[in-house]
Point group: C3
Chain length 373, copies 3
Amino acid sequence: MIDTPSLVDQYCHGVLRTELGLGTFETRLGAHLGDRRGGPPGLPAAGTTFFDTQTGFAVRRWCPPLLGLEPHCPPARYLARRRELGVVEAGRRLLRASGISTYLVDTGVAGDLTRPAEIAATAGAEAHEIVRLEPLAEQVADTSGTVDAFLANLAEAVHGAAVNAVAFTSLEGVRRGLATTPEPPGPGEVRGAAGRWLAARPAGGRLTDPVLLRHLLWIAVTAGRPLQLHTRDLDPAVLGAFAAATTGLGTDLVLLHAYPHHRAAAHLTVVHPHVYADLGPALAHTGARAAAVLAEVLESAPFGKLLFSSGAHGLPELHVVAAGVFRSALTRVLGEWVMDGAWSPADAQRVATMIAAGNARRVYRLGPAVSPR
Amino acid sequence: MIDTPSLVDQYCHGVLRTELGLGTFETRLGAHLGDRRGGPPGLPAAGTTFFDTQTGFAVRRWCPPLLGLEPHCPPARYLARRRELGVVEAGRRLLRASGISTYLVDTGVAGDLTRPAEIAATAGAEAHEIVRLEPLAEQVADTSGTVDAFLANLAEAVHGAAVNAVAFTSLEGVRRGLATTPEPPGPGEVRGAAGRWLAARPAGGRLTDPVLLRHLLWIAVTAGRPLQLHTRDLDPAVLGAFAAATTGLGTDLVLLHAYPHHRAAAHLTVVHPHVYADLGPALAHTGARAAAVLAEVLESAPFGKLLFSSGAHGLPELHVVAAGVFRSALTRVLGEWVMDGAWSPADAQRVATMIAAGNARRVYRLGPAVSPR
Amino acid sequence: MIDTPSLVDQYCHGVLRTELGLGTFETRLGAHLGDRRGGPPGLPAAGTTFFDTQTGFAVRRWCPPLLGLEPHCPPARYLARRRELGVVEAGRRLLRASGISTYLVDTGVAGDLTRPAEIAATAGAEAHEIVRLEPLAEQVADTSGTVDAFLANLAEAVHGAAVNAVAFTSLEGVRRGLATTPEPPGPGEVRGAAGRWLAARPAGGRLTDPVLLRHLLWIAVTAGRPLQLHTRDLDPAVLGAFAAATTGLGTDLVLLHAYPHHRAAAHLTVVHPHVYADLGPALAHTGARAAAVLAEVLESAPFGKLLFSSGAHGLPELHVVAAGVFRSALTRVLGEWVMDGAWSPADAQRVATMIAAGNARRVYRLGPAVSPR
């Protein structure tokens, strides 16, 4: 009844180019856990497996049929079939069946992952780049000899990236950068922090300095592209203060990964006109519960403030699962409201199209939808 | 099956006396957002409208039929019909169809809003006044020449208001007044704060001083009427500390507007015998999701501790929507529990009557229910 | 369709040996509220009763049929029948009908409660002891003459208790002990705190010193048994820091009583391999809503990380209710996911068995299940 023909995945990563065994595949299912602190993927507890999670069950529900197997077949059988087809052909079948017609790809994570152009070719879809701020700053540090050069190059790099990027994203900005204050640091404070960081920094050293992270967020705010903020373990007061400080500047903030604080994130989109919320991993990782979680976000967020994403990383299965659970959840939730008489069918279809694609097209200025090839 | 014939709306405001165009009406749909910080109503984000929210959809579901139109008709058509009838007749039809037989009205907000007696006449119902503490203190400040006079007049004004008011309410008391400690400030501290405020205060200046706000809450606690506390963005620890500090004093606390922290608010009603929770805006603003939110509150709160309200402000449509979604949600939630065998039909009917009206009649000592005229 | 034949109740208390009147029984229904701060059971608000709660309604649903009455019969009738049978026979009928085959019993609370061996005999089941850390430390203080003796005896007592206990538990450890830091206190700090406590302590005085509570948790961490932490009003940041500090030490942490923060607790089990979450009171106290709360926990927690318990204290009715609502909720939630095609029937049955008993048998090394006699 409710149709979501063409999804914009407003935040994802590329997929691995190498063949995967059962153990490596399982590790990737839990990889979002390790990502969180920048470390290696976590291990399951003794006596347990990442296949025994909503994500694991959802992969077994949605993916085997796309490779010619029964849903819920054993993981080993699925992996054998995947290797039989080869990583390229399996990835092609999976992504082309996902229903995603536009991918916005965060290219700032390590690993042998496909780039936006390659995703577009594999999936028969559009793809655009999201630039992650921390690696950009680390690259600038690698090639800048002095504090003055670093700070000038940093601003230039962010503004330069804004020409082709559809958005910026920051993993550590909220957690480390905004803990004490949302305001931009003063020039002296920034110079001091830059001097200390550059002097102590080994080659390739990560940016974790709170002042520089905050400075970087504020450069991005002036660059005119939407700024996506990872908000796991968010303190709503911290985000609310940054939202208040950036009101009226013309840059939209998109809150990523808020689960289990998705209601608090939705509430921030009510209060602040320039704040948007992502639905991705909250649905992809909750599998059979995605409809319930989606319904919670729809309680308070204005319907023009919500954006679909997969948050997928490494496995095309995760793009497929995110799209499948999202469409299934959206159809169920809005369909029930129509059945109850709470919503009209026309409104339900209109809101579905907004959340699936229309809001993202407006916020990221993507131009009209292209039909999947 | 479950019947809620007569509602007590334990917290609302009056309605606007002027005709409204489409833009003004839309602004009022989002007005609860601006209220929060005492400022003007907020604006929707670019490319969005407050009609595309659960509140907007709920108004279009519940109100057009009361004015002779189809549910979910376009906003412009509804507003045209509303103007055709005139603001008085439209308000009369809406309020008389709401099923609310008693209105407790917070009269302490600015704007050309109907007063309790006028609401009673329009709605064919009872209405009582809730006195908001901050404007009362500001009026006392306007007419008191010295610190001594101000403090004496303040206590007298609160105790005087308690004669006719059914309750007191405070918007800023929790957020600003209780942040550091729940205890009443000492006399010297209060005198100092009063002196500084009166000296610096322009005519009509708002009360935002934390010490005076806390002092005001504690005067209200001694006045013997229930004290309604606005708790948006509540820190449950702060509320819990104030609840602990006011235990055994004989004054009930009613927590308003706790969503999205409604489960934490419900939990406080479990722990503290004199703490009650409001269901109003949590249901009115979540529309099609109201049954789910109501069910969450009913998880832990004792059934004698919950109170219906609309929280409506400015538009009689908001009283109608709140009553409609509440009744619909209550019937659905309790009805399902009866169908499952988890509750008996008699218990479900008894609890419905308690939450719809009985608890409020007991807490506010309203006397027996009057049938709506 | 989904079968949970034999439950392991991984956290409960004994039952009262005395006959109970209506008033005493009602007080016990609300006893978990008083427990929380170590004080006496709380009182219901004026004009309300603890029978008008989800727990009260659930007792009336599940228990009367086990004593030959209609479900939902009036409390007075149920209590009369209970006295007619006698406390021993009523307890026997209730526990034997609960479906619990293994009880893990926290023996560290005051009151005339049955001990594990007596529960086992009454219920025709296995029972094992959980040792509560605070009373153990208080007993050691009662019998140690010096700081040196106290500290040596304390370590010996914990390690000695680990021989027979299946787990340790701490009520105040998280709330008071970990507030400032998760790290073990240094020897000098511990000696100082012990000296001050022993010097000021009246006979039987409670342990509330934060340094000694933290020291006690860390002794327990080295004792090799799972450590159950009461987490009501948990600050997830505090628990997360303790989880991080205890990673890789080989001791599992089990989070008890997290509601209304059960999603945050579930999230901690995702991030930390050695952290588990309890389902007990979150389901037992939410009654008709247990399926919804269970479903929320199953959103993110790996299925190998969840443990059933009753959390029951004093009344065998509370063991019955916990088991009944758990089984009913599990069957409903997993059954719906199977109906939707989201889970396979075999997976649903496997996960049900894990949560009902298998995970607890693995974590507490209980050996294979024994059929209830």
